[in-house]
């Protein structure tokens, strides 16, 4: 058997699975979004109507979509920088030669990433409880008035952001740590000999050399955070007053609670388009700044 044939044979199983169970549905999702497939259509396919771009049009006119998008953008705009800042600080701490027991700390800081979202979301739901939760206990001992984390529409999303940062910062921390370790030590040595302070070394050596990694991590985190779903589903059920409804939560509700599959597919595609646009933008802007 020659190499070409072997290649196709080895490729075939994965190709079939991905083609049939991923690419085909994605194409199907686009087709679905052009119809008004709903429960009536599920019962009898003759109830299906082809509506072209009407789903998208109706969606853009629906206030709930814009508020869901707003909540998602809020989550991304605050959560990503916060998460990356925490990851960077943690990576810097772990990278420092003065740190002891590094493997232990690394494991501890990474552990939340491995846990099941649903399980820890349940834990945090209790931690955020207004009366019996430990978060308010800690705030209370610092003299701060208890916050109605999960009942107040203004604080529910920050609660979810805090949870998401806690859960995910370890992941980027490891990647940034590897990036830090890849910076040649000689550069820092040379700068130290020249009399540069730690802060100046950070600004002029570490940050520029880390920039490509930071950009990549940033884009990945942004894409991941746009897909916010499990946290509002478990912790707040989209509330209070629908203040934690994200775009994917809306899609799930439309699609699997009310079975408006046409409208839900339109939501999914719109989200995809937005994510794509944002990552392209970040690549262009970030790429120019990093000089690549």
């Amino acid at each position: 058997m020659n190499r070409q044939h072997a290649a196709w044979l080895l490729l075939a199983p994965a190709a079939i699975v991905l083609g049939v169970f991923f690419l085909l549905p994605v194409a199907g999702a686009f087709a679905l979004s052009l119809t008004d497939y709903d429960l009536y259509a599920l019962a009898d396919i003759h109830n299906l109507r082809f509506v072209a771009l009407n789903n998208y049009w109706a969606l853009l006119h629906r206030p709930l979509f814009w508020s869901a998008l707003g909540h998602t953008v809020y989550f991304v705009a605050v959560g990503v920088p916060l998460s990356m800042l925490v990851s960077l600080c943690a990576a810097l701490l772990l990278h420092s030669p003065l740190a002891r027991c590094k493997p232990l700390f690394r494991t501890a800081l990474f552990a939340p990433v491995v846990t099941t979202v649903v399980a820890v979301a349940v834990v945090w739901r209790y931690l955020f409880n207004t009366k019996y939760g430990l978060v308010n206990e800690v705030l209370g001992s610092a003299g701060i008035h208890p916050v109605d984390w999960l009942g107040d529409p203004h604080w529910a999303m920050p609660a979810i952001i805090l949870f998401a940062v806690w859960k995910n910062f370890g992941y980027n921390m490891i990647i940034l740590l590897a990036g830090l370790q890849a910076i040649p030590a000689e550069l820092h040595e040379a700068a130290r000999i020249d009399g540069a302070s730690t802060w100046r070394q950070f600004r002029h050596i570490t940050l520029p050399m880390l920039a490509p990694t930071l950009l990549m991590v940033g884009i990945l985190t942004v894409c991941g955070y746009f897909q916010l779903f499990a946290e509002p589903y478990v912790i707040t059920e989209g509330g209070p007053l629908q203040s934690t409804v994200s775009v994917l939560y809306l899609m799930y509700d439309e699609g699997f609670k009310w079975w408006n599959l046409g409208a839900a597919s339109a939501i999914a595609f719109l989200l995809f388009a937005i994510m794509f646009a944002v990552s392209e933008l970040m690549l262009r802007v970030g790429g120019k700044e990093a000089g690549t």
Binding site: L10, P13, A14, P25, A99, T116, V123, E137
Partner: protein
């Protein structure tokens, strides 16, 4: 800043960070051992007054956690084994075998990483319905039998296999498939371990798709069972914590045992070239 102060500060921050990272999980275990209703006392207690396994008994005898646990184990194992086979084959083909359209196809695979899985979920549900895979384990297993990320990971790693080894085997007269099984697979052992851990963890923690496709309670995996319990027993804190412990502890242990491979694979996956 003196070196001593700096050292104290850095280690202090690390200890603080580790505490924040670990505390919810420790509290989870602590509450799961409390008497029902104990956690709703003011001020909230940190440790149980008298540890009890009552909640775990309730969980397994009344709430059917054992069934969910078994479902998770079966589904995750099946996905891990099958997708490992498929991804290894495809990843090697992309890495070491030349064929028409290889680069374009691989770009397509990388492109698939950018598409959020949720886009495919609705039509996939409609697709699986006539095949009869809705509300079956197959509905979760079959679509996961190959993944773009797995193929990407294997391909990155397999590129490091020296071509001379393969050429030598070819000169010896070995067929392509034989080379794959006898020469390449042993060399891919580290990435196999990494990918297995990663796939198992992802499958165990997967929530949205199983929520959609596993409609019957008897097929629920742990995250689903836990989420439905959380909606039903919102006030039974101790019971819910026990459920969380049962869900999280297996994967935490797996991670602790094999973290070296997992973290290495993570780094490998972040390489783009």
């Amino acid at each position: 800043m003196t070196p001593r102060l700096a050292k104290a500060l850095i280690n202090g921050l690390l200890i603080g960070g580790a505490l924040v990272a670990l505390f919810p999980m420790l509290w989870m275990v602590s509450v799961s051992l409390m008497q029902p209703g104990e956690a709703s006392n003011l001020p909230p207690p940190l440790l149980p007054a008298q540890a009890t396994l009552h909640n775990y008994r309730e969980l397994f005898l009344r709430a059917g956690m054992g069934r969910y646990w078994l479902n998770s184990l079966l589904v995750s194992t099946a996905i891990t084994v099958l997708s490992l086979a498929f991804n290894l084959m495809a990843g090697y083909a992309f890495a070491k075998l030349r064929f028409a359209g290889r680069d374009a196809l691989f770009k397509g695979v990388v492109g698939m990483l950018a598409i959020p899985a949720q886009v495919a979920m609705l039509p996939l549900f409609l697709l699986l319905k006539p095949i009869g895979l809705v509300n079956h384990y197959g509905g979760v297993i079959v679509p996961a039998m190959a993944s773009a990320f797995g193929i990407f990971l294997v391909r990155q790693y397999a590129r490091g296999i020296p071509d001379e080894l393969l050429e030598a085997a070819r000169i010896d007269g070995a067929g392509e498939l034989r080379i794959f099984v006898r020469v390449v697979l042993p060399l891919l052992k580290p990435i196999m371990v990494t990918l297995s851990i990663y796939t198992f963890l992802t499958a165990w923690n997967d929530f949205m798709w199983p929520l959609i496709v596993l409609t019957g309670q008897e097929h629920y995996t742990l995250p689903l069972g836990l989420a439905s319990l959380a909606r039903e027993h919102a006030t039974d804190t101790e019971l819910m914590m026990a459920g969380s412990v049962v869900t999280v502890v297996p994967v935490l242990l797996l991670f602790l045992a094999l973290q070296r491979y997992y973290l290495e694979g993570l780094l490998l996956g972040s390489v783009k070239g």
